[in-house]
Structure formats: C-alpha cells, structure tokens
C-alpha cells in the first residue's frame, strides 16, 4: 500500500543516551536530541550546562563516554581521521569569537576552506568568495584584516567562511554574545536568511532566549546534563515547569539557584 505522503527525511543529527564527563565533572547523562533537516534548532540553557560541549561532540572534537551521536547519517565517534575530516567538510561552524585566522585578510579567511578543499581556478574562487561576502553584507571589507573588524563584522566574516563550501549543516556557538543590538539583529536575520535560502540545517547554541527563539523552528532546553524541555518557542513560553519558566523569563532566582553551592554564610563570616 502506497502512502500519499512523501517519506520524512532522516534526521540530520541524532543524539541518543549520550553521557560525557570532563574529568570528575559529569556534563551529560542520558542526553537525547534530534535535529530535523532544513530546520533551525535552538539549544538553550544556562551557562555551564554543556552547550558548547554538545557541539564538540557533534563535530568529533570530543567523544561521548556512552550513547550514540549520528551526524549526517554517520556515527561520529566511530569515524577514523579521514572519515571525520570528510564529514567536517559537509559541516560549517561559527565560533563564539569568530576564530578568524589573524594573519589573513577577510577575503583570504573566507577563501581558506575553498583553497584547502576545492581545486578551483582563481577567478572562480574570487567570485565565490565575493558572493559569500555579499551575502553577509561585507563585500566592501574584503581587504580588511581581522584586527580591523568589529565583533559583529568578525562574526559575519566567519559566517561567510562557514558557508563558502555550501555545507549541509551549519552549527552556531553562541552567535549573539557581546554584540550590540544592531549587530545582533543583523546576525539573527542572516541565520534565518541563510538557512532558508541555502536550504541548510542549522543548530544554534545560545542563551539569548528572545533572539534565538524568534527564528528557531524547534528548541531544546538543557540543564543538569539532560534535556529538561523541548518544543517550539511558543510551547516553551507556555510551559508550566518552574525551571523552564525561570529560564525563558530570565528570572534571577528559582529552581536554578542564583548562588553557587556554598556552606553556611553566617558561619563562614564569623569563623
């Protein structure tokens, strides 16, 4: 019997029962997460919950102690170096600070992955880089050095570099940190625009609830090493869970304590 519906595309990322520890500190325990093709998926949570560590697991920079991590149909922890590099060529990643190569100008930074992986004739490469820079609004900054860029511009250049080889999956690590409202708005719009225009899948790790919530198709809220809530932004905003409400509304105290665990305050002062 044939179905009238097209078969659903397999998930781009599947994280199942993942545990991960950094030394004695347990970061994840039984983490489950799925990213659907073509969607913008937000991963939110308080600082120190392991959001960046999750990206390290997805890009094969760290290996889980237990569980499975599948990215673009491949089991990441089982890949050898050659396979891992081949998988990474299908992904792009935007780092918190841009991580531009400081000895190359903007043009060469964007051209870098293409020069390394694609044997393109120079005129083709030039057009490709200028198109990507135009897409992030920085074609005019092609000759500037990274030191001459503002934080927002550096992140847009890094975004152009991340998309230069047309990745299938684009991963953003805290893309809004330290940006002024105008730059933040530009980056929010770019993430949405590039995701839709290029037909890629995006994972945005952030704790800027309003910004990431405005463009995310689906969100995960991490706390204590596992997913404590998931759903659309509207579903998370409507959640009755006190921890979810505290995070979504930015309340300073609640289930997530303002204070780092400590002994008796009066006792310590009088000791």
């Amino acid at each position: 019997m044939s179905s009238s519906q097209a078969p659903a595309a397999p998930p781009v990322v599947e994280v199942r029962g993942v545990a991960y520890s950094a030394g004695p500190r347990r970061i994840f325990e039984g983490l489950n997460l799925t990213v659907q093709q073509g969607a913008i998926t937000a991963v939110m949570g308080p600082s120190g919950t392991g959001k960046t560590t999750l990206l390290r697991l997805l890009t094969g920079q760290a290996e889980p102690t237990d569980g499975t991590v599948r990215v673009l149909g491949q089991e990441v922890p089982g890949l050898n170096r050659r396979e891992l590099f081949a998988l990474r060529r299908r992904m792009g990643m935007l780092f918190q600070n841009g991580a531009l190569l400081t000895d190359l100008d903007v043009f060469e930074n964007v051209a870098f992955p293409a020069r390394e992986h694609a044997r393109l004739p120079e005129p083709v490469l030039r057009r490709l880089v200028l198109m990507k820079l135009e897409a992030v609004g920085l074609r005019g900054a092609a000759k500037l050095m990274p030191q001459e860029l503002s934080g927002g511009m550096a992140r847009r250049v890094a975004l152009a570099r991340a998309i230069v080889l047309d990745p299938e999956l684009l991963v953003y690590d805290e893309p809004f940190v330290g940006l002024d409202p105008v730059s933040m708005g530009v980056v929010v719009r770019l993430i949405k625009h590039l995701n839709d225009a290029l037909g890629i899948t995006s994972i945005v790790v952030s704790h800027d609830v309003a910004e990431v919530g405005s463009i995310a198709d689906y969100s995960y809220l991490l706390d204590g090493g596992r997913v404590v809530a998931e759903g659309t932004t509207a579903q998370l905003n409507a959640s009755a869970d006190p921890a979810v409400r505290q995070f979504m509304q930015g309340a300073s105290d609640g289930p997530v304590s303002f204070h780092y665990p400590a002994g008796d305050y009066a006792g310590e002062l009088l000791a």
């Binding site: 890009t59 081949a86 918190q96 400081t102």
Partner: protein, 244 residues
C-alpha cells in the same frame, strides 16, 4: 616522572610533525614566509651580536695568545671557536629568545582564540598548515643565521685584532685558511641544523600545547626559552664529543 612524560610527549609530537612535513612541502609559500618570520626578522639581532662577540674575541684572544707569544694564531682560534662552538650555540640561544618565543606565543594565541580548533572543524590539520611550515622554516633559517653570525664574528675579530691589537692581517687570514678544515665547517652546519630543529620543535610544541589563557601563553614562551637553552647546551656537548 613528569619530565619523562614531557620527553615522551615531545618525541611523539616530533614524529607527528615529521609526518606532517611532507604534505607541508607542497605549500612552499608557507615555508618561505616562516623562513622570513624566523630568519629575516632575527637578522639584526644576530648580526649585531655576531659583530660584538667577534670584537670581544679580538680583544680577549689577542691578550691571551700574546701571553704565549702566539698572537699569529688569532685567526685560527677565532675561526675554530666561531665555526664549531660559538656561532651555532650563541645563534641558537638568540634564536630561542627571538624567534622561539615569537613562535610559541603566536601558536599559543591561535589556540587561545580558537583558530586551531576552527581549522580542525574546517577539516584542515593545524599540524600541516601551522606547525610543519614553522618547523621547516626554523630548520632552514638556523644554518643561514649561523653563517651570518660567523661572518660578522670573524669581521669583528679582524676589526679589533688587526686594527687595534696589531695582529698582522695576512697572518690572521692565512693561518685560518691553513688550519680550519672542512670537517670543522661540517660540524658547525650539523650543530646548526640540530639546534634549529630543537629550538623550533620546542617552540611549536609549547605553543601548540599552551593552555588557552594569557597565563598559558606566557608560560609557553618561558618554557620555550628555558628548555631550548638547556637542550642546545646538552646537544652541543654531545655533538662536540661525537666530532672529536
């Protein structure tokens, strides 16, 4: 125990860098840039120190040799001392202080600002793109710097020994020509290559493994200078013994 672990770690890193050198040779531009960074940018300090060391030798050797009535041996003494010992050792110590610290801090900062991680995520091996060209650049730059140090050193010795201390210029050069053999030059070249490899390897090792903090980068540069200086002196003893 920690020292043994560090030696093992440096040895493994050395093997990884060697394996990355062959692919790095396909990008000669990167290596030439590093020869410029490590070599050309160290030229002024190397030339100045070579000249001053030569002038000191002109004074000191002339005085010492005069006590034995052997002023005419100044050329031989200066030539052998520079070619076999002072040239390679002092150049290596200066190289560790100028180029080694620069390499360690540069790579350490690349680590601290996620540039090395970004390369890995872009499926580019930082060992091939960053470390190997710097290692090869340092390796090539060192013998050139030693040669320049030696030339300036001999010039300084001649300047003071002949012009000020009154040693005959013809004797100075002819004695040197007669007594300095090819094996002496060879010893100097071997030492300069070994010291170049050691200093550059330690610089890239400590930079690559620096903690991604300001303190970590500072510590990497300090360790580079200390470890390079000690290793150069140890290797110098071993090589001098081997060439006896």
């Amino acid at each position: 125990m920690n020292a043994l672990r560090t030696i093992g770690s440096i040895t493994l890193f050395f093997l990884q860098v060697l394996a990355a050198c062959l692919p790095a040779l396909r990008r000669p531009g990167l290596i030439i840039r590093q020869v410029y960074n490590s070599g050309a940018r160290s030229l002024i300090i190397i030339m100045l120190c070579g000249l001053v060391v030569g002038m000191i030798m002109g004074l000191a050797f002339s005085d010492m040799l005069a006590r034995f009535g052997s002023e005419s041996a100044l050329g031989v003494a200066a030539g052998l001392a520079l070619l076999k010992e002072l040239g390679p050792v002092l150049t290596a110590l200066l190289f560790a202080g100028r180029a080694g610290t620069s390499l360690a801090s540069e790579i350490g900062l690349m680590r601290a600002t996620d540039q090395l991680t970004a390369m890995q995520v872009m499926a580019v091996d930082p060992l091939r793109y960053v470390v190997a060209p710097r290692f090869l650049g340092g390796l090539l730059a060192m013998p050139l710097l030693v040669a320049i140090f030696n030339i300036l050193g001999l010039f300084g010795t001649q300047l003071i020994g002949v012009s000020v201390m009154g040693v005959d210029a013809g004797t100075f050069w002819s004695q040197m020509q007669n007594s300095v053999d090819g094996i002496d030059v060879y010893e100097g070249v071997v030492k300069s290559l070994v010291f170049g490899a050691s200093c550059t390897l330690l610089a890239v090792y400590y930079g690559y493994h620096a903690a991604p903090t300001a303190e970590g980068v500072g510590l990497a540069t300090t360790r580079t200078v200390i470890a390079s200086s000690v290793l150069v002196l140890i290797f110098d003893y071993m090589l001098t013994a081997a060439f006896l």
